[in-house]
């Protein structure tokens, strides 16, 4: 859907410093999100990964540096960047269908048009039978799927996900990861996903960005293909029990701990 190979989301030497804090929340962070890539930012709390997502979403402005999406500077929130929130942020007075169509309603589409689109997206996230349901009657996993559908309905150029599966139990979380990979393959959207779950990060990412606190910065970048293997048809179980997957996971784990406890010897 995006035009040329020049279509990139670029975070260029961005720093963020909140007034009255010792360390910068983000220090000199650069990142490029290529078309059809799934970038996962992984790190412990305080590493600035949520700040990074809020910057790209346009909710906050950088102290220095620039962010551009397909050549246009990012200066504020916009519909071309869809956001999925940790606590779904759905509107309880709207039913599932109207929640999914919310972005289209704000854009001024008429009711018929936006409902057709919303039903289509609901099918994509396996919720076709739930259009008329009240969102507060749904389980956490379903609500998160509605949140994903709402972001997808507006057909954004990039999808930003802030620990979207963090509040779900392990079983549902795995289902959601597989659903996300399927949608990623089907739509070809660029995705920036924030998580603190190491296995999730290694499984999903085409580009894994490891972050560390004090000041928040990127300490390592890995190119992975486990998500692509799942998208190509391999089963999640076979990927996650692959020695290569386990080795990568252990490597990332070691790196996270090395940066998490820099002053503790033998940790």
């Amino acid at each position: 859907m995006t035009a040329a190979h020049a279509a990139q989301l670029i975070v260029d030497r961005v720093s963020v410093r909140y007034p009255g804090t010792a360390h910068a929340a983000l220090h000199d962070v650069s990142l490029t999100i290529q078309p059809e890539s799934l970038v996962v930012a992984l790190g412990p709390s305080g590493c600035g990964k949520t700040t990074l997502l809020n910057l790209v979403a346009g909710f906050i402005k950088p102290t220095s540096g620039h962010i551009t999406l397909d050549g246009q500077p990012v200066d504020g929130p916009g519909a071309e960047r869809g956001v999925v929130f940790q606590d779904d942020a759905l509107l309880p007075w709207l039913n599932v269908l109207d929640n999914v169509a919310f972005g289209l309603q704000l854009r001024g589409l008429d009711r018929r048009e936006r409902e057709v689109r919303a039903r289509q997206v609901l099918q994509q996230v396996d919720l076709q039978g739930y259009a008329g349901r009240r969102v507060w009657e749904l389980s956490g996993g379903m609500r998160q799927r509605v949140g994903l559908a709402r972001a997808l309905a507006a057909d954004p150029r990039v999808l930003l996900m802030d620990e979207p599966f963090g509040a779900l139990d392990a079983f549902i979380r795995e289902q959601m990861q597989e659903l996300l990979l399927r949608i990623w393959r089907e739509t070809g959207k660029r995705i920036l996903l924030i998580t603190h779950d190491i296995e999730e990060a290694v499984f999903l990412a085409t580009d894994l960005v490891l972050m560390s606190p004090g000041p928040g910065r990127i300490v390592e970048r890995l190119s992975l293909d486990f998500g692509q293997r799942y998208a190509a048809g391999e089963s999640a179980r076979s990927i996650k029990s692959d020695p290569q997957f386990i080795a990568t996971r252990e490597h990332v784990l070691a790196r996270v701990f090395a940066h998490r406890q820099p002053h503790t010897s033998g940790a």
């Binding site: 956001v83 309880p92 919310f102």
Partner: protein, 278 residues
Amino acid sequence: MSAELTLGEHDFAAPERVQDEAPQSRRPLPIGVLTILGVLALWWGITATGLIQPLFLPSPQAVLAKLWLVSTKGYMDATLWQHLGASGLRIVTALLAAVLLAVPVGVAIGLSRVARGVLDPLIELYRPIPPLAYLPLVVIWFGIGELSKVLLIYLAIFAPIAIATATGVRNVDQTRIRAALSFGATRWQLIRHVILPSALPDILTGIRIGLGTGWSTLVAAELVAATRGLGFMVQSAAQFLVTDVVVLGILVIALIAFALELGLRALQRRLIPWQGRA
């Protein structure tokens, strides 16, 4: 005592998101009915002994008979229904005007530092004053017509709704706002589609409280050259020591207030069924 009463009438608890519809305390009705029956029995018992003259406390039967008389023949040139209609029209007019003005004012206070700085002290200053205290001023400024009566009730309803709306607006979930912003919502769309619906529980609580204070201001409002109205009926009956009409008027006022409260609670359950669940 009277000071305490006045305070009580205008006491305005900060509108917390109402939790009083918790499932376990859903039906306190049977006990409540028993209480009322008990009071009625006591009333009947005391008056039946003849120890208290009807001038001080008429019997329930006498009040019931008066209800029939006042609703068919009338009291002070108007039937009970005409008195009721006059009072009802005043309170509905005042309520509509208060909602139309207080909700935008509350939204402004909740969203804008400037609006808050300007309007908040004004509301907080006039809110605790008992309506009877500023009634003379209202009469001097606006005369003895319908306007003064409605204005007095309106003032009593306005403050609770404005304050509750402002509270609701300030407590809107920030991620909902961000979600709407991420779809490119304009400021007006934010207010219309996110902020107002989010604040609706608080607005309804404000209306509940406001309607309570407004209804209790009714008698004061109808002190001013009224010829009809429940408050007027009670006062003129008191002047002629027609105690059964006084008691009847008080009971009707109480009953209507109770019905309004129940109606608004039902409306809350209907309009915001997700309360406490989302």
